[in-house]
Structure formats: structure tokens, C-alpha cells
């Protein structure tokens, strides 16, 4: 079975772990801040993805960020209710993805917490245009881990992209 590393990155509290747990059918209400990195193994159609769920907190970021190396696909998550987390995709996360994974690694951008969205779509589009200048974004998706909205679509897309790219 082929195994692929998929990294979830983004600021603390954007809902990276909640998205993964929502897909796995686990309780998202009791999710707490990730310590270091958590690992989840998901199998579908003879493809195995190991999801590396990176802690968003600054202290861990500095220690662990170079573990992005070797990711076949990166999911960059921001919080649709906190503009700073979108700005940090441009200022911090996209440069890190480019540095450690290169500019050809497939990236999905996820705006999570659609249920409490505050950021206008034109601001998001402008941000994604900016990020696209440096990395290979294949999809932008809005999700709600709390309501389970678009969570399956996100993971279906991850598997499709992994298969198609065969990295």
C-alpha cells in the first residue's frame, strides 16, 4: 500500500485537529490545543495517508516547522472569523511551505469555521491570489468542522489529489 504524508498547518485554534477528528467521526467539541504534532493514519482505496497535524502555537512552530519536509500535500487552514489567521497564511505559512516543500507541492487552502464567518470573500480571493504567487494551490474550500460541512469533500479531494499527482 502506498503511504503519503499530508501536513495540516495554520495558526493555533483555526480548527486543524477538529477537521481531522470530524472526518474520523470523533467528537470535535472536546478538542484541545495540539502538543507538538499529532499523527492520524487514514486508508482509502489502497492509499494510505498519514496526516501530520502540526501545532499552530509559535513555540512549537519554531521547533517543528522543518518536519514539513517530505509532505506530498499540504493543507493550509485559516479561521474565517479571524483575519489575522488569513494574513498569517500569506506572511508566515506560505513561505514556510515553499521553503520546506518547494513551490510544486500540492496545497489546499481551507477556510474553517464557516458557521461564524466574518471575512468577506473578496478579501479571501485577494489573499489566495497573493499566496498563489509562491505556492501551488489546487483548491480553496470553506468548511465547518463543528457542523461537519465540506469535511468529507476536503478529505475526498486530498485522496484524489494524492492519486492524481502520485508524488
Amino acid at each position: 500500500m502506498k503511504t503519503f504524508k499530508v501536513a495540516f498547518v495554520g495558526d493555533s485554534g483555526v480548527g486543524k485537529t477538529s477537521l481531522i477528528k470530524a472526518f474520523l467521526g470523533e467528537d470535535v467539541k472536546s478538542v484541545r490545543s495540539t502538543i507538538g504534532i499529532d499523527f492520524f493514519s487514514i486508508v482509502k482505496d489502497s492509499y494510505n495517508i498519514t496526516v501530520w497535524d502540526f501545532a499552530g502555537q509559535q513555540w512549537f512552530r519554531e521547533v517543528l516547522i522543518n518536519m514539513l519536509q517530505g509532505a506530498a500535500l499540504v493543507v493550509m487552514v485559516f479561521d474565517l472569523s479571524r483575519p489575522k489567521t488569513l494574513q498569517n497564511l500569506i506572511k508566515y505559512w506560505a513561505p514556510q511551505v515553499k521553503k520546506f516543500c518547494g513551490d510544486r507541492t500540492v496545497v489546499i487552502v481551507v477556510g474553517n469555521k464557516k458557521d461564524i464567518k466574518k471575512i468577506d470573500d473578496d478579501v479571501i480571493i485577494s489573499a489566495i491570489d497573493e499566496i498563489k504567487k509562491n505556492i501551488n494551490i489546487k483548491l480553496y474550500l470553506q468548511t465547518s468542522a463543528l457542523l461537519g460541512e465540506n469535511v468529507s469533500k476536503l478529505f475526498d479531494t486530498i485522496f484524489e489529489l494524492v492519486k492524481v499527482t502520485q508524488i
Binding site: D11, S12, G13, G15, S18, V28, K29, R32, S33, I35, G36, F39, G56, Q57, Q58, W59, F60, V63, L64, N66, M67, Q69, G70, D79, S81, R82, P83, K84, L86, Q87, I90, K91, K113, I116, K118, I119, D120, D122, V123, I125, S126, A127, I128, D129, E130, A145, L146
Partner: protein, 270 residues
């Protein structure tokens, strides 16, 4: 709930009272520090997720937009900026430049409720027994799975208090006695963490130590599992991915204790 934080710019330590955050959401409050505001984001457990500062705007004559909270007009700078703050009495308007757009977010301003902050228990413990000795005790407990430690009687109370606040040390019994040191125990990781933690507010310091211990245990288990499955190359890549020399040394030390020596030698001999 109460939150203690240190301003990243002026280092002022403050205690603030904040509303609980709903489950699944991150709440923000702002502190007015005159030429900058401190933005604090916390979750439903009261854990601070981020603290950052934004420069407060001076008078500008650039493009104007309206504050969504009070309708006041905001004049933006003519020069490029990432984010800038405008204080409007009980709230602060933060203008973010994202791509080629602006977005205004408003955050409630809170006031400090306490000037004196309770003394950091890690600092107190280090003052009594010294950083090296405390780093040694923590390292020994974790590396050798020790359940009882003997320490000078004047440090028993403070160490019991400190260990009670850390998940992986809570079960350790602290008994008065002579502290004898085994020089082969590697203390560099915890010496570094404690040296940083003593200068932080207590909650942040405890969190830092607690998370370091949890991360070390989690990573060492991963490393040992990789070794036991004969995935030497993967284990080596995993270990080499750590930029932090102290964490790497501690992981090697733990691997030597928990994995067969032949596998550890293979890990290190290339």
C-alpha cells in the same frame, strides 16, 4: 475567567478578567498600551492561543473607511502596512491589509485587574534548589521513570506544588532527603526550558514545561517504535528533522534507555 499574560513589546505582566469563549471558537480581547495594543486570543479552556501586538495609528490623511462597531471614520496611512490599530473608547479597530484589500476587525478593550502577579512557581523552585538541580530531577524522573525523589526539606513544599501542576510529574512523590546526582543524566533540554520559563508569567511557564514534557514523551515513543519496527532510515530522518539540539539529545538519551542498543547504534552510526 482570569488570564495572565506578558506584553511581547513592553514585557509588562498583566492579569485580566475575560468572558468564557464558546466551544469551538477563539475569543479575542485587546489591552491598550498607548502606542501599541496587545491582542490576546484564548479558547474555551482559558488557554492563550496567541498574543501579538499591533501598532496604534497616528493621524493619517490616506483612504478612509468606517469602523463597523461605532461608525467612526478611520484614515489609513499612505504607506504600506500589515495591520494597524485605532482605539475607539471601549473597542479597538484593527485594519488588516490582506492581499490588495483591507479588512477591519473590532476587539473589545479590557483593563488590567491586578497589578501584582502571583510569583512563578518554577522560578520559586529554581530559587530554592537551583536550575541545574531542578532540570536534573525532571530529567531523571522522565528518563528513568522514577516515582520517588529525595530532595532537601526546604524544597519539598514548592516542588510538590510544581509537580502537581504538570501532568507527567503529578504522580511523583517528593520526600525530604539528600539529593544525589547521577552525572550521566542529560539535563540540557530542561536546563534550557527552565531558564526560559523562570522569566515568564506562571501559567505560560507551566504550559511551556508541560508541553515540552508531553512532546518529549510523544516523540520518544515515536522514535522507539520506528526503531523497533526496524525503520532505521525513517527514524534517522525523524530525528534529523529536529532543529533543536537539546530536544534531539534528550530523544537519543531516551532511545538508548528504551530501545535495543543494536538499533540505537544503527541509528547513530551513519
Amino acid at each position: 475567567m482570569e488570564i495572565i499574560l506578558a506584553c511581547p513589546i513592553c514585557r509588562k505582566v498583566e492579569v485580566i478578567q475575560v468572558e468564557n469563549a464558546p466551544i469551538g471558537e477563539i475569543k479575542s480581547v485587546a489591552l491598550n498600551h498607548q502606542d501599541h495594543v496587545v491582542l490576546v486570543e484564548y479558547d474555551y479552556t482559558g488557554m492563550i492561543r496567541s498574543v501579538y501586538t499591533v501598532r496604534v495609528s497616528e493621524l493619517h490623511s490616506g483612504k478612509t473607511i468606517k469602523c463597523p462597531e461605532c461608525g467612526k471614520e478611520i484614515s489609513l496611512p499612505d504607506t504600506d502596512f500589515d495591520e494597524i490599530a485605532f482605539i475607539h473608547d471601549d473597542h479597538v479597530a484593527i485594519v488588516y491589509a490582506i492581499g490588495n484589500k483591507y479588512m477591519v476587525d473590532t476587539v473589545k478593550v479590557v483593563k488590567e485587574v491586578m497589578e501584582r502577579v502571583p510569583e512563578n512557581v518554577i522560578k520559586k523552585a529554581c530559587d530554592i534548589i537551583g536550575i541545574d538541580n531542578l532540570a536534573y530531577l525532571i530529567s531523571k524522573i522522565l528518563f528513568e521513570d522514577v516515582k520517588v525523589v529525595h530532595i532537601p526539606s526546604d524544597a519539598v513544599e514548592i516542588l510538590s506544588q510544581l509537580f502537581g501542576k504538570i501532568d507527567h510529574l503529578r504522580h511523583v512523590a517528593v520526600i525530604p532527603g539528600e539529593l544525589s546526582k547521577d552525572k550521566t543524566i542529560n539535563i540540557t533540554l530542561f536546563k534550557k526550558i527552565l531558564s526560559e520559563a523562570i522569566n515568564k508569567p506562571e501559567r505560560e511557564a507551566i504550559r511551556m514545561l508541560d508541553h515540552t514534557i508531553s512532546a518529549l514523551i510523544k516523540f520518544s515513543e515515536m522514535l522507539v517504535n520506528l526503531l523497533k519496527q526496524n525503520e532505521i532510515e525513517q527514524a534517522r530522518n525523524f530525528l534529523n528533522a529536529f532543529p533543536d539540539a537539546e530536544m534531539k539529545q534528550a530523544l537519543i538519551f531516551l532511545a538508548k534507555k528504551k530501545a535495543p542498543p543494536s538499533l540505537v547504534n544503527m541509528l547513530l552510526n551513519k
